[in-house]
Amino acid sequence: MRRLSPRLPGALLVLLALLAAPFAHAIAPTRMPTPELQARYERLIHNFRCMQCQDESLANSPVSLAADMRRQIRQMLLAGDTDQQIRNFFVSRYGYFILFKPPFAWRTAWLWLTPGVLLLVGALSAAWVIRRRATLVTRESGDEEDESLDDGLAGTGKHSR
């Protein structure tokens, strides 16, 4: 059984409105008292995942849980919390999953290191293949020379090929 978001019909309406006006603001913009707070607010809501529609950020999600989370962020900003405190607040309740960019930690090390390891493996095997090909080519061209030599020796100027 699928778990439905609170006020789904409302979310659908917002979605329809979105389809109708692709360039309009997805979410009613929140005004913070100062430009500095506004910038931090905007940055923060883009960094957190909406836990219900998991591939969207809080900034783009129309579901009401995302609205509540934006409200929570707004309140914490107004209360003077730092970005790090707000991040810790959400991570301690929802886990690293809520961050689009997980921090480098023991638990996430494989996530960050795997691409590098794969790149290294790829580079090493590419180097290996290229070097093997290179020796193959020289050997083959050597063979050809031998062949033409043979041809020259055996032949009387006839075109064998």
């Binding site: 009401s64 509540d68 309740r93 886990g95």
Partner: protein
Amino acid sequence: MIRYFVPLGVFAAIVVLLALSIHQAPRKDLVPSPLIGKPAPSFSLPSLSDPNEKVTSAALRGHWYLLNVWGTWCISCRIESPELLAIAHTGVVPLIGLDWKDSRAEAMAYLHQKGNPYQQIAFDPGGLEAIQWGVYGAPETFVVNPQGIIVYKYIGPITPRAWAHDILPRLPAGQASGS
């Protein structure tokens, strides 16, 4: 000759890895809670039935309880409702409701119609208390021990099987009967 089998071997290894991963992969709609083993958030919320009364975490200290997050808008909560009534009937553990993003009148009518499994119900129309618990959908059920530690979280509607296999064994009553 062996080198012709190297790509095949790598391919087979990838197939095995992906096949295992598919079965091992956690369901994307079940996000593990980092609150397991941590103290439950302390709260003091108005009671659903009486706005002047409070439901507080302090008063719940010293007892096992289940905190069940629900709302009248939540279809799965309706499915879960008979099982909650059955759990309440066993008397093994008190159910505390957290009525999430709901209206008082609708919630009261719903409980009147379906029956009320809860000992107390905290009312959270704004949804900020649910965020404290890391809730991201309903229903969700937290098992809290007498020290106020969250022992377990069950996501989705509780089925008789989930109660018997996942929740009851984590309660002292279940452990006593199980051993």
